[in-house]
Symmetry: C2
Subunit: 353 residues, 2 copies
C-alpha cells in the first residue's frame, strides 16, 4: 500500500509545467461518467447497495490492466486531511471527499489517471495532463475506459448512449475541462468579455476546484456543458478550437501590459516575490494571488531564477492539507499561515537570489 505522505514530496505530472501552451494552459482534464448495468444509480442506492457496488467495481478493477498500475483508497478509511489532500491534487472532487457512504478512488503514482468510485456515478474516470493536450488526455481516459469495459457491463442505451445519474452527462458521459491561468485578462478586466463569449457557446467557466468554487490565483476552468447529442470528437474539437483563442488573447494582453505598463507590472511581480520570500505568516488566498503574479513573471521572462515547476508545485503544496501532511500535524488556520510562510520561504530560497 502506497503511503499518502509520499504525495507531499512532489506534485502530479499535470503540474510539470509541460505540454502545449503551458504559459497559459496549466492542465487539461478529460472525465468519463460510467455506471454499472444491473445496479441502481447512487441517488437510489442505500449504504448497503453502495457497498455492494463498490465491492463489485473494486473486484473488477483488480482484473484490469489499470487495476495493476493503481492503488485503491477507501475514502471512509481516510482522515479528513487525507481526503482534502486528494482534492487539492485534483484526484477527487470536493463532493467525493466530503460526501458519505462507501466510496473510493484509484490512482497511480504518476497521478495521470484517477477513477472515482461512487461519486455521482458508479465510476468516474479522469485523465489529467499538463498543458493543452486534450487528445492525449482523451486517449488516456479512453484507454482506461476500454480496459474497464472488458470486465464491467456499463449501463448503456443505444438511443441515449451512456446512462448517468445526472441528465447533463447522458450520452458520452464526457466532460472536458481546461485549466487556464489568465492573470493579464484579470488585471485589465478583459476577463468578463471572455466569460460572455464562452457562455454563449455553451461552455462553462468555473473556479479552481470545479463547480461552485471561486476562481483564485487567476485560474479558471473552462469545460463543456452539454454532452447529449454530441460525439466525443465534437466536444473535444469544440474546446480545441476555442481555447487557443483565449490563450492568444491572454498573451496579447500580457504583451500590451509589458509594453505600456512595464514598470507597474514588474513592480507588482517583484513585490510578490519579496513578500513570498520574507513573510512570516501568509494566508492561502494571498499565496494564490502572489504565486499567480510570480507565474506571470516567470512566463514573461522577467523572473529567471525561479523554475516554473517550483511555482506550479507551490500552488498545490502550500494548501492546507498538504501543509498538514508535510508537518505531520493538525494545524489550525493561524498555524497553517505560519507554516505556509516558512515552507514557501525555504522553497524559494533554494532557487537563488
Amino acid at each position: 500500500m502506497q503511503d499518502l505522505n509520499e504525495l507531499t514530496s512532489r506534485s502530479g505530472e499535470w503540474l510539470s509545467g509541460g505540454g502545449r501552451e503551458a504559459d497559459v494552459v496549466v492542465s487539461c482534464r478529460v472525465r468519463l461518467a460510467r455506471n454499472v448495468a444491473g445496479f441502481p444509480f447512487l441517488t437510489r442506492a442505500d449504504d448497503e447497495k453502495r457497498k455492494e457496488i463498490e465491492h463489485y467495481v473494486k473486484e473488477k478493477l483488480q482484473k484490469t490492466q489499470v487495476g495493476q498500475t493503481t492503488n485503491y483508497w477507501d475514502l471512509q478509511e481516510l482522515s479528513q486531511v487525507d481526503r482534502q489532500l486528494l482534492v487539492e491534487r485534483h484526484l477527487i472532487s470536493r463532493d467525493h471527499a466530503f460526501g458519505r457512504g462507501p466510496r473510493g478512488v484509484a490512482f497511480g503514482p504518476d497521478e495521470k489517471v484517477s477513477i472515482m468510485v461512487n461519486e455521482e456515478d458508479h465510476l468516474r474516470i479522469q485523465a489529467l495532463r499538463a498543458g493543452l493536450e486534450l487528445e492525449e488526455a482523451f486517449r488516456l481516459a479512453n484507454e482506461v475506459d476500454n480496459d474497464l469495459e472488458k470486465e464491467i457491463d456499463y449501463a448503456f442505451s443505444s438511443q441515449f448512449g451512456y446512462l448517468t445519474a445526472c441528465p447533463t452527462n447522458v450520452g458520452t458521459g464526457l466532460r472536458v475541462s481546461v485549466m487556464l491561468h489568465l492573470p493579464a485578462l484579470v488585471i485589465t478586466r478583459e476577463i468578463d468579455k471572455v466569460f460572455q463569449a464562452v457562455s454563449k457557446i455553451n461552455l462553462a467557466v468555473r473556479g479552481l476546484y470545479g463547480e461552485g468554487t471561486q476562481a483564485s490565483g487567476d485560474f479558471y476552468q473552462i469545460s463543456n456543458q452539454v454532452t447529449l447529442g454530441k460525439s466525443e470528437e465534437e466536444i473535444i474539437e469544440n474546446l480545441s478550437s476555442v481555447i487557443p483563442q483565449i490563450v492568444k488573447y491572454e498573451r496579447k494582453v500580457r504583451q500590451t501590459l509589458l509594453q505600456s505598463k512595464r514598470l507597474v507590472l514588474e513592480d507588482k511581480i517583484w513585490r510578490a516575490v519579496g513578500v513570498l520570500r520574507f513573510a512570516r505568516s501568509i494566508s492561502s488566498e494571498e499565496t494564490m494571488e502572489l504565486l499567480s503574479l510570480v507565474r506571470l513573471g516567470v512566463n514573461l521572462g522577467l523572473i529567471q531564477d525561479i523554475p516554473i515547476t517550483t511555482v506550479n508545485e507551490l500552488f498545490v503544496l502550500s494548501q492546507p492539507a498538504h501543509l498538514q501532511k508535510i508537518e505531520r500535524a493538525q494545524l489550525n488556520s493561524h498555524e497553517r499561515d505560519e507554516v505556509r510562510a516558512r515552507y514557501i520561504r525555504e522553497r524559494l530560497a533554494r532557487n537563488g537570489r
Copy 2:
C-alpha cells in the same frame, strides 16, 4: 569650495546610530537664535538690508574659529534641488530653503553644526548629535555661539535676554529638539497618550521636518515651546527628564508586542524587508513606513544582517533631492520612485540575505 554632491555618499554624523538611547532617540538638536545689534530684524529689512546683514555676518564669520572649519553657501546661488538636499539633511529649515532674499548657511564636513544666516533671525546656530546627547549638543552650540560673540555684537537686553524676531524665542533664543522613533507606540496607538502628556508640560510635538510638517516613518520631534523666563539649563533639564520616560514607554510597548504578538510583528517587519528588497517602484512615503519597520526589527534584534547605519542612511538618501543628486538628473515623481526602488535594492543587497 566643497561640492554638495559629496554629501550624497554619506549621511551626517547625527545619523550614525550612536549616542545614548539610540534605539529610540535618533538625534537631538540644539538651536540658538541670535541677531546682530544695530540691524533691524528681518521682518523689517528689505533685500538691500538683508544683503548688508549677510555680508556683515559672513565677514565676521571668516574671522572666527567656526568660520575656518565650515563652508558658507549662498542659498540664492544654489539650485532648488540643492536647497532641498540641505533640508533633507536637516542642515537648514524648509522656510530657509524656499524663502527669498539674500541668505545662506555655513556647515562643516561632519555636519554637526550649521549656522543659518537670515532665516527668521540674523543667525541661527544649530548643533546636531546622534542619540540623546543634549548636553553635548548644547556644549557644541554654545562653543560656536561664544566664538561668534567675540566678533559679533548680539542684540541683547539685560531685562529680556537675547532679542529675537519672534517673541517665543526671546530670552535664551534656545530651542532643544529630540527626534524620536516611536513605531511601537504608533502601532498600539499609545502615541496619543504621549502627545497629551507632553503638551501639558509645554513641550511641542512636530513631524520629521519641524513645524508644520507631518510625522512620517513614525518619527516625532519633541521640543521646548517657551524660552522666556527660563535658563538654558532649565530647558535642557526639562527635556532630559521627560525624554527618558518616553523612551522607556516605547521600549516597554516593543517588548509587549514582541511577547504577545511576535508573529504578527515579525511578519510586518519581514514583509517590509521583502518589499524594500524587491520593489521596482516605491514612493517616499511608503519607503519611510517600511524603513521604520526595518529599524524596529534591527533594534529588536529580529533583523541581524542589516546594520542600523544602513537603515538610518536610507531614510535620508532615499529622499527626492538626494536621489536626484545621486542620479545627477532632474527626475519627476515617477522616475524618482523607480530610482528610489533601485537604490534601496542595491543598498540592501550589499548587506547579505
